[in-house]
Amino acid sequence: MAKNIIVIGGGPAGLEASARLDALGYNVFLVEKETRLGGHLARWDRLFPEGVPAAPVLEKLVSGTGNTKVMLESEVLSLSRLGKSFRISLTSGVSVIADAVLMTTGFDLFDASKKEEYGYGIYDHVVTNADIEGYFRTGKDPRIGSPERIGLVHCVGSRDEKAGCRNCSKVCCATAVKQACELKAKFPSATVYCFYMDLRMFGRGYEDLYLKAQKEYGIRFIRGRVSEVSEKIDKTLQVKAEDTLSSTPLKVSLDLLVLMAGMRPSEAGAKVGKMIRLGTGDDGYFNTSDGFTGMQATSVPGLFVAGASTGPKTLPDTLSEARAASALIHEYLRES
């Protein structure tokens, strides 16, 4: 009889792993708390570095899941060991006994209103990276209007002890540069500034994106972290930073400010992790059995992890981890 596997979290990692495990002949149960699959990817318009549309990527991931039993609007009520197996019960009333569990609980976006000095939710024309994606998807956002001066702030809620998050969120630099280009294309007469501390363009094609932003879109990069934002009487924004390269304080008036909200460990995921005593690091992300050869394994036999639940990851990283976890689960179940 085919063995049961529970995948917790229906974002890209969960979808890819479900597809691979389904193809290997397992009974896969994919648990998702929202009303739809896709996680953050479902809210995104285009993907860096080339700006390919997100929707067909998600469609492909969803259509690959085959016979996977998808359980939407289901949160985990309890998860415990039962001998070598796991017992899981869901808020939807369903209970499943499974031979292996894969945690693909992903991340939460940092709540940008917590950085009060940037005025998200207070000033009229401050939005986040996620809002920009929503704007490009739906064409609607009353905060955006037709800006002539646009600023993008990197590292909002990342690399920030005050926000309780020391780590780099990895994807925001490339997202910021991508969105800067998209905004410039949308509003050709606008001046677009990126405020960065360090530009981390580490992936294939990212440096090309950076070059394109400079050369083709004329994005102005300012090496300084925005220290404060205030709203003027005419609702435009005054932004202060240091231009650290010229060692001079700098201010600029903007019509739109975009905050690059970073990644935080998923709260819902953390709750499930606690049920099964899956340890976390100081950063709140799940611990893996080791950081090099055991990235998909945990201290609990039969419990596996993939994607951003173990730290910020790009989409290709996440999908690779999902495939790696599937192979590892396959080995584990064949041996047990």
Partner: protein, 109 residues
Amino acid sequence: MMDFGFYLTPSSTIELDKVDRKAVDDLARADSGFRTCIACGSCTASCTAGVFAETSVRRAILSVLNGRDEKAMDLLSSCMLCGKCMMVCPRGINTRHLILSLQKYYNGK
């Protein structure tokens, strides 16, 4: 002095070989911020004195690391210890403590 028609100016190169490493270690012991600064410039941008006089915690820290303690002291001479930089520092550096540690160290010498 004989006039050769030209004169020599001292080199402006930062010479790390000549940095008083003991001073840097002492200061870093007094306040770890000398080592943990990531030079984002938030302190300088939010500085209330910086609008009028050249004032910068970021550059003061860098000056200390580059062995330019007089420059470091200069950059903080207009500081009013308002503490605004402390509020914005993403590394959570206690800038007020760092500034006072620096002044205590060099004024005591």
